[in-house]
């Protein structure tokens, strides 16, 4: 699959052109920005990330593990008299429960993110432009078939101060 790419220097230009190309029915392959541009997900029409549910799931797992294991250890596996406190000292179990909830949630979501974003140590980055992690904003569109009207796209890009446009043949990304 071939890609069309355009380079912009300002986030406002990028946001504008993104909305316009999307309104015009072109499918955005991806956009590369040096920082998280506020409102870009909206402009691209991305759905809210499902990671939050996953995070909740991890955290809940941590909660259950913590409560059950503390209860089991304190009341069933090894019930002993510690300073006269009840075997099931639930209030005293809360701090560890909370910490494990957060730990599971936090570590879980981090790895879930890496998995979802296919990031891993040592992975070679696929870059359209070497400056896309520094100061360039790059819009890439999919050239699916002949319906891709490069003239319109080019003019849209130019109107929005594109610095450079090009076609990438064969998906090199």
């Amino acid at each position: 699959m071939d890609l069309f790419s355009a380079v912009f220097k300002d986030e406002d230009d990028l946001l504008k052109v993104t909305r316009q190309v999307r309104d015009s029915g072109y499918s955005i392959y991806d956009i590369y920005t040096p920082y998280a541009v506020h409102g870009l997900d909206d402009a691209m029409g991305l759905k809210p990330s499902k990671l939050s549910y996953l995070c909740f799931g991890f955290a809940f797992l941590g909660l259950i593990v913590a409560i059950l294991s503390q209860y089991w250890i304190g009341s069933i596996d090894w019930p002993i008299n510690v300073g006269g406190k009840p075997f099931n000292s639930l209030p005293a179990y809360l701090p560890v429960t909370f910490e494990l909830t957060v730990l599971f949630g936090g570590v879980g979501i981090f790895f879930a993110f890496l998995f979802k974003a296919k990031l891993r140590p040592g992975k070679t980055a696929k870059l359209v432009n070497p400056h896309s992690t520094d100061y360039y904003f790059i819009l890439t569109l999919e050239i699916k078939d002949s319906s891709f009207d490069s003239e319109t796209v080019l003019s849209l890009c130019r109107q929005n101060n594109a610095v450079e446009t090009k076609i990438i043949l064969g998906n090199a990304l």
């Binding site: 920082y35 990671l51 510690v82 701090p95 993110f113 870059l127």
Partner: protein
Amino acid sequence: MSIYYSILRKPIIAGDKKLKDITDDVIRPLEQKPTLLWWVAFLVSLTVLLIGVVAVTYQIKVGIGTWGLNKTIGWAFDITNFVFWIGIGHAGTLISAILFLFRQRWRTSINRSAEAMTIIAVMCAGIFPLIHMGRPWLFFWVIPYPNLRGPLWVNFRSPLLWDFFAISTYFTISLIFWYLGLIPDMATLRDRAKSKIKKFVYGLMSFGWNGSARIWHHYETTYLLLAALATPLVLSVHSIVSMDFATAVIPGWHSTIFPPYFVAGAIFSGFSMVLTLMIIARKVLHYEEYITIDHIEKMCKIVLVTGGIVALSYGIEIFMAIFFGNQYERFMFLNRALGPYAWAFWIMISCNVLFPQFLWIKKIRRNVALVFILSIVVNIGMWFERFVIIVTSLHRDFLPSSWAMYKPTIIEIATLAGSFGLFFTFFLLFARFVPFIAIGEVKGVLKYGKLKKNLTSEGSVKANADVTV
């Protein structure tokens, strides 16, 4: 909501910076050879660290008796230092998580270094519970793992165990959070790097980041979730640390206000440390346009607010002890204020309650030299707060027969110094090898406060560029 800002807002980043300028400015110290100043600072820190290492080694070899503790005062410098460093750490998480949730965009200039400070401070803190043990080599016994000794479990009712969980969780989440923020910057460094080694190292550390908006989208969700988790976490950590004392039955330790009060105190001291570090860093690394005088002023205000909460907590504690407390409780506070450790109490009161009040004055908040001095004063005060809580509560508790005094030994002083050595050694390494400012985040707030608008007629509002409230 609006793309416009109030006329009262000012840009976060001073000067007319372009995106590339930010990268250049931030990375400059990394791409240059270390300065003489850096070398001097590093070697001094390293030397102090080594002194600490010698002291700790000696202590572990010979025994805790090389500290000034006794049968009445079982904790003093060790746990004071522990709570002090943990407290320092809190500002980093506060800046990166809580200010993030409160949409305080100015945090971007300082969050990277503050988070680094957190991680290093937690490491400094973590050493103390370890070495304060009589038999530190059996440290792993506090970890609940299935074993062949029974199995023998740990005591989930013990606040020290909560501590272990809290500190390790806090360290893990802080590290993850910090690293998550670092990934895009590592990619920036990678793509700028000239040498092969740098390219390889940064390539390894940037996880293959390419700035894809689809990944940014998940990234932001993850960042938000981590912030949402780190916020209650940071509250819980110092609350749990406070419960090391508050669950006890000793007057002066057992107090229900400890959890929120310790958290406020932690933020108070943490922000003072951030101020101390940032004031040096902005000067030495030439980041004045990123860490502006407005940043310093805002941090001063947080110091003022948290200092106020701390002062209120002192007040509530003393009020309740005097009007409601039993005789042991009442005595404890009188003894703090007038007993043999009154000097420590009054250092604490003057450093934490009196001197910070100068920050009400705007001129002082914007005077870098004075703020620097005040930030150190607060750090001293907060160290003494922990000392006062720990030592003065223990040294005269229920039975007068056991009343005793505590004096640190040279080993303890060297260990405290060593922890500072460790802190600054690591912080200097951080400043040398990691972008001191979160490049990606600062770029995101470049436009903040630049497009202003006033809804009322221009003439009637006295609006000018340097209006601040």
